[in-house]
Every structure is written in structure tokens, then in C-alpha cells.
């Protein structure tokens, strides 16, 4: 199949970018979206042009490295999918496809489709951990945790930090990401101990990074590759309100 691409090209962080058109034929519908970009890049190399740079790592939908706006939607037209798990059978022959980086003030574009997501790392560093001394792993049955609780915590922990929630949010809010991390830890006995301190620090860091307010449009849950529930945002708000009310 043949596609008409319009791809965001930007030299570096400070430079102005623009959309550049490419015609790509010989695309197989079995290719992933990233493989289609690889195909285009190989042709660009043989022509001596600079390749289109994009983030990717595992290419099996679990690392969260890849992510771009495809036809105006985070990770493309499907819901609950990463860009690498989107295949060309989701597009029609002869279609025009717009490809842009995820955009938010807190996610500056580094080059082309590559963005700097360290804002997420800073949120994790501010409180997304438990203060346990390292050493031998404790006996696993010494802290009983009910099955439903581990499952609920794991549902939140499944977040891969791809940034689609921020990209699709009309306010560029990081509420789904931050709340997933807070929920994950507050559900487990090891994480519960520091929950008040953690939520205040992580929300504070989220604000400091320049993310917007959550207005509960729930677009993030639709686009999230891991289908993280927006109810975690409710839990984050609950934990935050509780922590602020009980703070000495």
C-alpha cells in the first residue's frame, strides 16, 4: 500500500519545526507503524537525507518509549495501544497520515518526533518509591496481601509512562500518570506508610513541572495503552485531600 505522510520535522529543541510531506509506497499491511517509519528512513538514508528521529525500544508494547500523535490521536486511531503495536492494516491505501510528536510544555521536542519526558522521571523521583533498606528479600509470606489488593495495585502499576495521557489531555495534565503511581503504592502495605508525604511531594512535583489541571474529560483513559482507570485520579484526589487536611 501507499501512504502520503506529513511528518513534523524539527532540528533541535529551540528551532521552529514544520510538517514535511513524504510519499511512501511498498508498505505491507503487516508492518507495525514504526516499521513503516523504518522503511521511510532507509530510503531517506539512501538519498543522503537526515532520518526522521523517533523514540522506540522494546517494540512489543511494554516499555512506553514510543509514542506520537498519528492523525491527531495519541498512539493513532486505536484505543489502548502503543504506537509500536499499531499496524498498517489500520490504515487505508492512499491515505494521508499526519505524524507529530506528543505536545505539552513539560514535554519539549528534542528533534522531530522525539520528546523529553524527564518530567515524569522527576515526579517518580519525588516520591514514587518506598524507603526500605536494601538487602535480602524478606520472606514473602510475612506481609499478607489479599489477592484483589495485589491485582488492583498491579492494574495501577501497569502504567508504562508513555505520556499519551498528557498528550491527549486538553490541559496537558499528568493526573493519570501521577495518580497511577500514587494508587499503586498506597494500595500495598509497604507503600501505605509514607502515603501522605508521598502524595504531597508527587503532586507538588507534577505542578512544578508545568502540567495543567485535570478537568476529568477522561480522554486519557481512552488513549492509555494500559487502560489505566481514571478512578485512580479520584483516589489521588482523596489521598491528597486527606493528607492536606491531616497535615500538622
Amino acid at each position: 500500500m501507499k501512504l502520503y505522510l506529513k511528518v513534523w520535522r524539527q532540528e533541535h529543541r529551540e528551532s521552529k519545526g514544520n510538517m514535511v510531506s513524504y510519499e511512501v509506497d511498498g508498505i505491507s499491511e503487516h508492518m507495525s507503524f514504526l516499521e513503516m517509519l523504518d522503511l521511510l528512513n532507509e530510503r531517506l538514508i539512501s538519498k543522503g537525507e537526515r532520518v526522521i528521529e523517533f523514540d522506540h525500544d522494546c517494540r512489543e508494547g511494554i516499555c512506553g518509549a514510543c509514542g506520537m500523535m498519528i492523525n491527531g490521536r495519541a498512539h493513532g486511531p486505536l484505543t489502548g495501544t502503543t504506537t509500536c503495536q499499531l499496524h498498517m492494516r489500520s490504515f487505508k491505501d492512499g491515505e494521508t497520515v499526519y505524524i507529530e510528536p506528543f505536545r505539552a510544555a513539560a514535554f519539549p521536542v528534542l528533534r522531530d518526533l522525539k520528546i523529553d519526558r524527564s518530567a515524569f522521571d522527576h515526579i517518580i523521583q519525588s516520591g514514587g518509591y518506598i524507603s526500605a533498606s536494601t538487602g535480602q528479600a524478606p520472606e514473602s509470606n510475612s506481609i499478607p496481601i489479599a489477592h484483589e489488593v495485589t491485582e488492583a495495585a498491579f492494574d495501577a502499576a501497569a502504567c508504562i509512562g508513555c505520556g499519551a495521557c498528557v498528550a491527549t489531555c486538553k490541559n496537558s495534565s499528568a493526573a493519570l500518570f501521577t495518580s497511577a503511581k500514587i494508587s499503586h503504592l498506597v494500595l500495598l502495605p509497604q507503600g501505605k506508610l509514607e502515603s501522605a508525604d508521598r502524595v504531597i511531594k508527587m503532586v507538588g512535583q507534577m505542578d512544578a513541572e508545568g502540567f495543567g489541571h485535570c478537568s476529568n474529560t477522561e480522554a486519557c483513559e481512552v488513549e492509555c495503552p494500559q487502560e489505566i482507570s481514571v478512578l485512580h485520579i479520584g483516589r489521588m484526589n482523596y489521598e491528597y485531600n486527606k493528607a492536606m487536611a491531616l497535615r500538622k
Binding site: 505536545r103 491527549t168 486538553k170 496537558s172 495534565s173 493526573a175 495543567g212 489541571h213 478537568s215 477522561e218
Partner: protein, 222 residues
């Protein structure tokens, strides 16, 4: 560390929910307009007089004005911050496919409601408080006649009905959104609150929409 994203939303939720409660009281009061004409006039004027004289109501009315202003001002502050957080715009944007129209346009809906409120305050609140109204048989200011007369004009009714539709969509998102901001995360009760939000928005909207239409088609004091 300055924290605003959650605390400002708490202000929006608290003021919004207070306004939601006020709407119930306001609608219940207005339902008196649906009584038979002679009864409605006396009762409605008596009720208006009761509200304007009571010290408790006076205090609540100041909370109401503060809530209205607070809700609008914080909405502006939050919107400014959100625009800043967005940075550069998408060239091709289809994000609207994954969320509802009203949830994305609370600002526009709120602005319509604000414009409506200016008209509403000017025509009734200001006239009742500062204007010279004729008195009814019981000696109460005859607000009833003012109301009935204003709803004889088709264009005036259209303004009201459109504003109520905007209000309905605003409530539909706002009611449930406030519950989430306050921290409701239990799936069962989150679902329940959403259902209550639907019923609440429908009853309030249709209730308010009914009154001008009822007056227009049933009463003629001119």
C-alpha cells in the same frame, strides 16, 4: 512548594456544589409560579418578600455571590495555567474523538451562563432590590407581574431556554467532576454519583425550562 492543580480544583468543586444546591432551592421556589394565577401571585410575592427579609437568607446570599465570583475567577486562573501547560498546538488535532463535547467546553458553557446571569440579575434581582415596584393586595412587592410580563416576549424566552440548555450540559459534567475532585474513587459509588448527576441535571434543566414556556402559553396579564 506551590501546589495549585488540585487545590484550585477543590475551590471549583466546593463553589460548584454549593451553586448546585442553590439551584434546587431556586427551582423549588420558582415552581410556585405554576400555581393558579391568583394563588401564584400572592404566594410568589410573599415568598420573595420572605427571602429578602430573612437575615439567615441574607448571609447565604453573600455566600452565593462569593461562590459565583470565586467559581468564575478560579475558572479563569485554571484556564490560563492550562493554556500555558499546553505549549505549542497540534497541527492536526482529532483528540476531540475521545471525550465528550461538554467536558471539553465547560468554559464556553460557563460563559454563556455568566452572560445569562447578568441579564437575570439586571431584570429581577436589581429591579426587586433597587427598583420601585407596585404592591400586591397583601402589600408585598409585585415581582410576579414583572416575571409574567417579561415572559410574554418570544426572544426573551429563547435567551432563557438556550441558557438552560447550556446550564444542563455544564451541570452534567460539573456534578460528577466535582465528586472526583473531592476524591470519590470507589467504582460502585462513582457510578451512582454519575447516575445522580444525570437525574439532577435533567430535573434542574427541564424544571427551569418549563416555567417560561408555561407562562408564555398559559398566562397573559397584558
Amino acid at each position: 512548594m506551590k501546589q495549585t492543580t488540585l487545590t484550585y480544583k477543590l475551590v471549583m468543586a466546593a463553589t460548584g456544589l454549593f451553586l448546585c444546591l442553590f439551584l434546587v432551592i431556586h427551582l423549588l421556589g420558582n415552581l410556585q409560579l405554576l400555581l393558579p394565577e391568583s394563588e401564584a401571585r400572592e404566594q410568589f410575592n410573599w415568598y420573595s418578600h420572605l427571602l429578602s427579609g430573612n437575615i439567615l437568607i441574607k448571609i447565604i446570599s453573600y455566600v452565593l455571590y462569593l461562590s459565583l465570583i470565586g467559581h468564575a475567577v478560579y475558572a479563569l486562573v485554571i484556564t490560563r495555567k492550562n493554556i500555558k501547560a499546553n505549549g505549542s498546538k497540534y497541527v492536526y488535532d482529532k483528540r476531540s474523538q475521545v471525550s465528550s463535547w461538554n467536558s471539553r467546553n465547560m468554559g464556553i458553557l460557563g460563559t454563556i451562563i455568566l452572560i445569562f446571569l447578568v441579564i437575570h440579575f439586571k431584570d429581577y434581582w436589581y429591579v426587586y432590590k433597587f427598583g420601585h415596584l407596585p404592591l400586591d393586595a397583601k402589600g408585598n412587592k409585585d415581582l410576579y407581574s414583572i416575571v409574567v410580563r417579561s415572559f410574554q416576549q418570544g426572544w426573551y424566552i429563547i435567551i432563557y431556554e438556550l441558557s438552560f440548555v447550556a446550564l444542563g450540559f455544564h451541570l452534567l459534567h460539573g456534578f460528577f467532576s466535582a465528586s472526583r475532585t473531592l476524591g470519590l474513587y470507589h467504582p460502585k459509588y462513582a457510578k451512582l454519583v454519575r447516575a445522580i448527576g444525570w437525574i439532577y441535571s435533567l430535573v434542574i434543566t427541564l424544571g427551569f425550562m418549563l416555567i417560561p414556556l408555561y407562562i408564555y402559553f398559559n398566562l397573559n396579564v397584558l
